[in-house]
């Protein structure tokens, strides 16, 4: 008789028990995280922040540890453009053999495990899960005024027949005063797996981090990413996330503007089809005056997909002269697609300029006819209009190579899923 297979949280806790002694770094935070997970469990529908995204599939799955990667990830890697210094992780583990020579500012978490203080494992079960089981990740630390150039972090997940794997990379990026870095992240994979990364980002006085993320995981994968960023006076955190893959994905980005004149851009685009469900949740906290924040998020939904946008701008009492703007637009390309949008404002300071807008609709019939009347075939006309819809978001990406990567990803997607 077979013992019932443990799934969800109990399975993760059991795995922790088995792995405990072999996990790197101080065990204390991990034990605390396990306790949180045991008490809270995974977030359910009653949790307001998870109102539109159901984690049932994670509860019901039995995840195993990735095997030491035997399979050749070459084919996957070939799909990743080579931008700047490329550092490759396979199933959550750093692969020096597949990477460029790592720069001095990089160290793998496996060797130097240290949990930062920006993440909130006590409140967020998925972050607790990551804290509990993180084995590896990228720790990138730039000294004052350094120019880190461009680094591409690649996450590849390889297919393990019969096994559904889970890995929880923990990344920390610190850009010290006056320093600059462009960080490109690409996530690809085959098969079914859970990729649950947590990233803690500190941008200090006058520093700039440009963060371009491409999530193109396997269509049957689960991608649940949580990012915490803190931006000091006159610092800039400029991020853009393009979501194309994953059966169920959530990108949750928190940005706290702690110093005067800080800037945070949390922009994104999600293009979905089939039965995909993708949730982009962003929270910007203005804790200091004269901050600027932008959240421009576009959803293009085909098939029976479901796109979710939850965006919050919080302005504290002392954050006068805040300039916060949020725009969320959704384009529904099929009658079975669904969009849920909750743009929130929580304002406690009066001398601020905060606004948000949201629209939902379909491709404009007049515009389509105009293109067709000039000879452009219907499907190409639709492609032109969808690309135009997305261009406002993608054009915001200043880094030429990164932007080109995103544009190509969008074209490729359209070619594979002509609507």
């Amino acid at each position: 008789m077979n013992a019932p297979i443990a799934t969800g949280v109990p399975a993760f806790l059991a795995r922790f028990e088995g792995l405990r002694t072999r996990l790197p770094g101080d065990p204390a935070p991990r034990l605390a995280a396990a306790e949180v997970l045991r008490t809270l469990g995974l977030p359910g529908r009653r949790n307001e922040a998870w109102h539109y995204t159901n984690l049932r599939p994670i509860e019901d799955a039995a995840f195993s540890e990735p095997l030491t990667a035997l399979r050749d990830s070459g084919m996957l890697l070939a799909r990743v453009p080579h931008i700047g210094t490329r550092l490759v992780f396979v199933d959550g583990r750093f692969r020096v053999d597949l990477s460029d020579t790592p720069p001095a500012i990089f160290r793998p978490f496996a060797m130097h495990a240290r949990f930062g203080d920006l993440a909130q494992p006590a409140r967020e079960p998925l972050v607790a899960l990551n804290t509990m089981l993180a084995e590896d990740g990228a720790i990138i630390t730039l000294p004052n005024d350094a120019d880190g150039g461009t680094i591409t972090l690649v996450s590849l997940a390889t297919e393990a027949p019969g096994r559904t794997t889970a890995f929880h990379p923990r990344h920390q990026i610190r850009v010290a005063a006056g320093a600059r870095l462009t960080l490109v992240e690409v996530a690809l994979g085959t098969g079914t797996y859970l990729h649950n990364p947590v990233t803690e980002i500190a941008v200090e006085d006058g520093a700039t981090l440009t963060h371009v993320r491409l999530q193109d995981e396997s269509p049957s994968a689960y991608h649940l990413a949580t990012l915490y960023s803190s931006v000091a006076a006159s610092g800039t955190y400029d991020s853009f996330t393009l979501t194309l893959g994953g059966r169920l994905s959530r990108t949750e980005i928190h940005a706290t503007l702690t110093g005067a004149g800080a800037i945070a851009h949390l922009n994104a685009a999600q293009i979905l089809t089939g039965i995909q469900h993708a949730d982009f949740t962003s929270v910007v906290r203005h804790a200091a005056p004269n901050g600027t924040s932008r959240q421009t998020v576009k959803n293009v939904l085909a098939g029976s997909s479901r796109g979710v946008f939850q965006g919050r701008i919080e302005v504290a009492r002392d954050a006068q002269k805040t300039d916060g703007y949020q725009m969320n637009q959704a384009l529904l390309l099929s009658p079975d697609a669904e969009v849920n949008s909750k743009p929130e404002l929580e304002i406690f300071a009066d001398d601020v300029k905060c606004s948000h807008g949201a629209t939902v609709g379909e491709l404009d019939a007049e515009q389509l006819f105009y293109l067709r009347s000039r000879g452009v075939p219907a499907s190409e006309a639709r492609a032109i209009l969808v690309r135009a819809f997305l261009s406002e978001a993608i054009e915001a990406v200043a880094h030429d190579d990164a932007r080109a990567m995103l544009e190509r990803a969008v074209s490729d997607w359209w070619e594979q899923h002509p609507a």
Partner: protein, 494 residues
């Protein structure tokens, strides 16, 4: 720069003595013992001489309520309400129902005169001395605590075929109508407060407008809470049959007290093919004093069902009172081409908290909804707009436009917006915009440089801010509303 000190002082001077409706009426009351249980419900039903079916209905609702938990997701903070520590029935002793005006306790009549609410029809036409409120051509149902004390112009309305009477009367005189519609828009188990209301509601207005009739006058109900330690649970039901039109106004005030009082009402509106219902509210329940003591808890479920094709329901509200407001007047747009509208100005000052907004549920094709919400926060208050726009799969060609704007006065208050947008039909279009602002120093200076006092300037700017909503109010209410806004925000007392 945040609002200048003078403006802050002006604004904070408000509720020290600004609530001019805070007086109490001394009158003999018939009070049920405190507590909430089946016996109380039977007592209420017996006092009102209700038929068995309604008693059963109340008991079912009570049973459902006991299984439910108080909701806590709104951004409002309040100490636990002890539901057993309230009287659920309080009526002026002399009359347990509306009679001719000659039989109404003169003390009551004086109360309404003081409030500026004319009850004597002659007085209405002649103009009551010192009255500020609505004048002629409005039929009025006056509700004092749990009961309706008078309803004017009933015969005029009957001639047009319009039924307008207290719901307690409608239950007796038109039971089939009430039974057909009661609880069909807000089911008894819809939410905690609706269930409570369904169990213990005592009175409210009932209106039925027959096919093709344009109601010859505006209808209104004026709610006055007077007795201490009571909860107010009124129930209003308005049915507009095919092709009819009715405009209804609701006004409310309560005495100034240190304890909080609970007001949990339910309003159900039903509009058939080509019918229109316009429902306007000027809510001025006692908001609590400058330190946040006392004040009404206003937890209301208001919903309109646009059942017929091309039907239309408009909600217009000016909310300036109550310590805590929790209400989301909604429209369920079932009929094809039906229209739902929500226009609101919500003012919070001192320690008031408001969590209010609207839900528009689009079911039918080519349905349209418009939401214009203006929130003004001052003092240490918190004002939240919470809305839902839901486009269901069959809502082809549906349209929603939402505009929610917040005006912050002073830097101790908060203004929040939480809209939910859900769409399952690609041909449905949703457009939502929200902005947050303050009264700019240069705006104030400009007004003052043209000779306006600071108070006048604030008033002017606030009125401009609320213009889109105020223009939706019936004329009589618009004037009262503007005055109310001025009083709520300025130092002047009437």
């Amino acid at each position: 720069m945040p609002a200048v000190t003078e403006t802050l002082d002006t604004v904070s001077a408000v509720t020290q003595s600004g609530y001019k409706w805070g007086f109490e009426t001394t009158i003999e009351m018939d009070l049920a013992p405190k507590g909430l249980n089946e016996d109380i419900i039977r007592l209420i039903s017996a006092r009102k001489e209700e038929p068995d079916w309604l008693l059963e209905w109340r008991l079912k609702a009570f049973a459902a309520w006991q299984q439910m938990a108080e909701p806590h997701w709104a951004r409002v903070d309040h100490p636990r309400i002890d539901y057993q520590d309230l009287h659920y029935y309080a009526a002026p002793k002399k009359k347990a129902g509306p009679k001719s005006l000659d039989e109404v306790d003169p003390e009551l009549l004086r109360t309404y005169e003081k409030l500026g609410i004319p009850l004597k029809e002659r007085a209405i036409l002649a103009g009551v001395e010192g009255a500020d409120g609505p004048q002629s051509n409005i039929a009025m149902d006056a509700v004092f605590d749990s009961v309706s004390v008078a309803t004017t112009f009933r015969s005029t309305l009957m001639k047009a075929g319009v039924i307008f009477c207290p719901i307690s009367e409608a239950v007796r005189d038109y039971p089939e109508l009430v039974q057909q519609y009661l609880g069909t828009v807000v089911p008894m188990a819809d939410n905690f407060f609706a269930a409570l209301n369904s169990a213990v509601f005592t009175d409210g207005s009932f209106c039925y407008v027959p096919k093709g009739v344009r109601c010859p006058m505006e209808l209104s109900t004026y709610f006055r809470i007077n007795a201490r330690n009571t909860g107010q649970f009124e129930r209003t039901l308005i049915i507009a049959d095919a092709g009819s039109y009715v405009s209804y106004l609701e006004g409310c005030t309560a005495p100034q007290r240190d304890e909080n009082q609970l007001h949990a009402a339910v309003v159900e509106l039903i509009a058939m093919d080509d019918a229109q219902i316009k429902y306007s509210t000027v809510q001025n329940w006692y908001p609590g004093d400058a330190n946040g003591r006392g004040g009404i808890y206003n937890f209301v479920t208001k919903r309109g069902a646009c059942r017929g094709a091309r039907s239309k329901i408009s909600w217009t509200q000016v909310e300036t009172g109550s310590a805590i407001t929790w209400k989301y007047p909604s429209c369920v747009l079932m009929g094809d081409d039906s229209v739902g509208e929500f226009y609101s100005v919500a003012v919070t000052n001192n320690h008031q908290q408001a969590d209010t907004g609207s839900k528009m549920i689009h079911i039918g094709r080519n349905t349209k909804s418009t939401i214009v919400s203006k929130g003004i926060s001052a003092g240490k208050s918190n004002n939240t707009y919470r809305g839902l726009v839901r486009m269901l799969p069959k809502a082809a060609g549906a349209r929603n436009y939402t505009q929610c704007d917040s005006l912050l006065i002073g830097d101790q208050c908060g203004a929040h917006t939480v809209p939910y947008i859900e769409s399952r039909n690609p041909t449905a279009k949703v457009e939502h915009e929200a902005t947050t602002s303050k009264i700019a120093d240069d705006q104030l200076f400009y007004c003052r440089s043209r000779g306006l006092s600071e108070e006048d300037a604030v008033n002017l700017i606030v009125n401009g801010f609320c213009k889109d909503v105020l223009k939706e109010l019936p004329m009589e209410f618009a004037v009262e509303a503007q005055k109310l806004l001025a009083v709520s925000l300025e130092g002047s007392v009437g």
